[in-house]
Amino acid sequence: MYRRLGWIALAAVVGIALFVGTRPPEAPPTSTERADALAERIRCPTCRGQSVADSDAPASEFIREEIARQVEQGQSDQEIEDYLVSRYGDDVLLVPPRSGLASLVWVLPVVALVGAGAGLVVVFRRWGRAWVET
């Protein structure tokens, strides 16, 4: 019984994988969609926590135009982000880079989570020992 169930599960997984793998790829984003998506990731340099896509500040409008221009010229997303960082600094990215000092934004929460987990394990063990002793 269990063996048959295993074979059924395996067949289901293979079927789903084949279905997903053989689906035609999604159409690539248009230039406008790419420019809009990039603008969502770029910080408005004169606002707090707003992307240039959401801001009406003149500087944001110019950055949006520049992104659209570079997308039309065939620049990759990374090249456009690198250009903006070279003019406005790392702060222009709403999503911090995963390298350099800014990577601490990604690393520190993980370190804090692991530390908190380890702390909880130590505390629960201590409580467990105290409970056993009483």
Partner: protein
């Protein structure tokens, strides 16, 4: 509940008193340090700012000026690459911006002071404004240096401009040496030129 003897109750009270004293001293030191910091920094209107462009070769500034020559006979063009051997103040401005209006007299003075030595040029780039406004502004307030329109913002993003006024000092070799946010004064620019090793 255990009643403490008078001496035993006195000790934590004294300890709390010392803690309060040291906490007050620490807060006082922080407040004094903050006041000293705020009192000695540049006024918020004019500030040397950080920029990834500092120390890098200056982005291009070129184009035909909106402002015609003083005698009205020609429309000058400007190429930053042609200014080798001179300091250049690249000034981003708009006619609707009050600090820009306030710095205009100082820029006129600066240009006049360096006219004879011909060791400094000012070029202004229009930030979100119209050519008609700019022509009227210069006619009323003076200034006959090149003023370049940038309707698509190409130079504005090339220089990483966030708001106006913003000015950049480019050295005689074409490298960006300083970024100033807020209005400038001629004395401030002269002092910065001295600090950067330029003749004033």
């Amino acid at each position: 509940m255990v009643a403490l003897a008078p001496d035993e109750a006195e000790i934590p009270r004294r300890r709390r008193g010392r803690l309060a004293l040291w906490s007050s001293v620490a807060v006082g030191v922080v407040v004094v340090a903050l006041i000293a910091l705020l009192a000695t920094r540049d006024p918020s209107g004019t500030r040397l700012a950080n920029s990834p462009l500092l120390g890098k070769f200056a982005p291009d500034v070129s184009g035909q000026s909106i402002i015609v020559s003083p005698d009205g006979s020609s429309v000058p063009t400007f190429e930053l690459g042609d200014q080798e051997g001179r300091w250049v103040i690249v000034n981003f401005f708009a006619t609707w911006c009050v600090p820009c209006q306030e710095e205009q007299d100082d820029l006129v003075t600066l240009v006049a002071d360096h006219a004879e030595a011909d060791d400094l040029r000012v070029v202004s780039i229009v930030f979100s404004d119209t050519a008609a406004n700019v022509e009227r502004y210069f006619a009323e307030r003076g200034g006959d240096w090149p003023v370049i329109d940038d309707p698509d913002g190409q130079m504005i993003t090339d220089w990483g401009v966030t708001a106006v006024p913003e000015s950049y000092i480019v050295d005689p070799n074409g490298y960006v040496r300083a970024k100033i946010t807020g209005g400038v004064t001629s004395q401030r620019i002269e002092q910065l030129l001295v600090d950067l090793g330029g003749a004033s």
